[in-house]
């Protein structure tokens, strides 16, 4: 590890400020928790992008989910991270405390089991997440069809990583030198979808895992590419990421979902950046079953989450950070989610 850090230090010298973006909430947290951020050369800046699934979910989706739970018509199953995100009518956690049927699931398979055990209830699963999580939702829909679970639906808020990166880069103010690419999204995607970042945008790109050595290797390779003036697409997480990713997982996703234009928090509607159920599986589409529509996207008053997820602002620049907005009293999703950038800064870097 020391040899890599020494090489990184040498390579970074004299290059000016190097702006590297990670687009995976798990990376954001790991970079802080492992202390790797503190080991990097002072001119290497890591910027968190739109990589936290809960944080990038538009407020309209969150309000629609809370509305559904509040209606009493459905039992709402969700990954734990969504529970505390505040909406216009409070959070799912607050509704649950008041008696609404909200079930926290580790896996969408738990929601299927709940639906099997409670055949009279309408069971709606909040299907959020990037490419790592999407195949699980697709498999659950296929399983629900096989089991004839007539009252099981998903509210798809699934999103794709590359369209969001492209949208960020379309902003003339985006000033980035490279991307630390997400490890477990890449287990599914493989490397090739990222090619345009190198070929068209001339950016350094490295796929990395989550252990300290992986994170340091990833940053070191990015800086080495920049120093050599030779941007490339590298993979230091070869233990898990095959060049072609996991084609079985992608085929399952494609069987059930189709790309659609989707709204992201503060980033607006990004073309073909989300996933909707195909017509064959419309029966499992909570939007259709319950005639739900997405309201407006907005940030809570004064909250800068929308800017934070785009890497335009760092958490301490938000007037609420550490004052009105803390882990125990979060105002926006970037403080609520365990993978949110504000939560990571609050936990690990409050003095920074």
């Amino acid at each position: 590890m020391k040899a890599t850090l020494d090489a990184l230090q040498r390579d970074a010298e004299g290059l000016g400020e190097l702006r590297l973006m990670e687009v995976c909430g798990t990376h954001t947290v790991a970079l802080f928790r492992t202390g790797v951020r503190d080991l990097l050369p002072s001119n290497v800046r890591l910027i968190s992008g739109p990589g936290c699934p809960v944080c990038v979910t538009s407020q309209g989706y969150i309000d629609a989910a809370i509305e559904a739970a509040a209606s009493g018509e459905v039992t709402l199953c969700t990954y734990g991270d969504m529970l505390r995100v505040p909406g216009q009518r409070g959070s799912l956690e607050a509704l649950k405390a008041r008696g609404a049927r909200v079930v926290v699931c580790y896996s969408i398979r738990d929601a299927l089991k709940y639906a099997q055990a409670h055949p009279k209830e309408q069971v709606m699963f909040l299907a959020v997440g990037f490419e790592t999580t999407t195949p699980a939702s697709a498999l659950a829909v296929l399983e629900a069809a096989r089991l004839g679970l007539e009252r099981f639906t998903i509210l798809s808020g699934h999103k794709l990583v590359m369209p969001a990166i492209e949208a960020l880069l379309a902003d003339p103010q985006a000033d980035l030198h490279g991307f630390l690419l997400p490890g477990h999204v890449s287990v599914i995607l493989g490397a090739s979808p990222y090619r345009p970042l190198v070929d068209e945008h001339g950016l350094a790109c490295v796929i990395a895992g989550f252990e300290p050595q992986q994170l340091i290797d990833g940053v070191a390779r990015l800086v080495a590419q920049i120093k050599a003036g030779a941007p490339a697409l590298e993979n230091v997480y070869r233990a898990a990421v095959r060049p072609d990713g996991n084609p079985h997982a992608r085929a399952i996703t494609q069987q059930v979902f189709v790309a659609e234009d989707t709204e992201w928090r503060a980033m607006g509607v990004i073309p073909n950046s989300g996933l909707a159920l195909r017509d064959e599986y419309a029966h499992f589409d909570a939007f259709k079953r319950f005639s739900l529509s997405l309201g407006a996207d907005y940030d809570p008053p004064g909250c800068l989450c929308g800017q934070v997820i785009q890497g335009r602002v760092q958490p301490p620049q938000c007037p609420h950070f550490g004052k009105g907005c803390t882990l125990t009293q979060p105002i926006g999703p970037c403080m609520v989610s365990s993978e949110g950038t504000c939560a990571a800064w609050f936990k690990y870097a409050r003095r920074a």
Binding site: G25, T132, A239, N246, H248, I252
Partner: protein, 86 residues
């Protein structure tokens, strides 16, 4: 949310998209879907995300990751057990 944890396949049952496994996470056994890793056999090491194995891993690398998770105190990332530790 995209974290995945390595474990070892100890029991396989079902077929095709309904193929399941009992996966051992150093003592805790969890039921996991093998639908995305049709090549995973008994005793294979798999990377598990939210109840689904997403890739087959080399044993040495899987053990290294596991040791790291353990020393870093990341037990909160390990899926809830089906059965208590034997």
């Amino acid at each position: 949310m995209c974290l995945a944890v390595p474990g070892q396949v100890k029991e396989v049952y079902g077929e095709g998209l309904e193929r399941l496994a009992k996966v051992d996470f150093q003592g805790s056994r969890v039921e996991v879907s093998l639908a995305m890793v049709p090549d995973a056999q008994l005793d294979a090491w798999v990377l598990v995300h939210a109840g689904y194995a997403i890739e087959v891993l080399d044993e040495r690398e899987a053990r290294e990751t596991w040791d790291y998770l353990k020393t870093a105190g990341l037990y909160d990332e390990i899926p809830p057990a089906l059965e208590p530790k034997p």
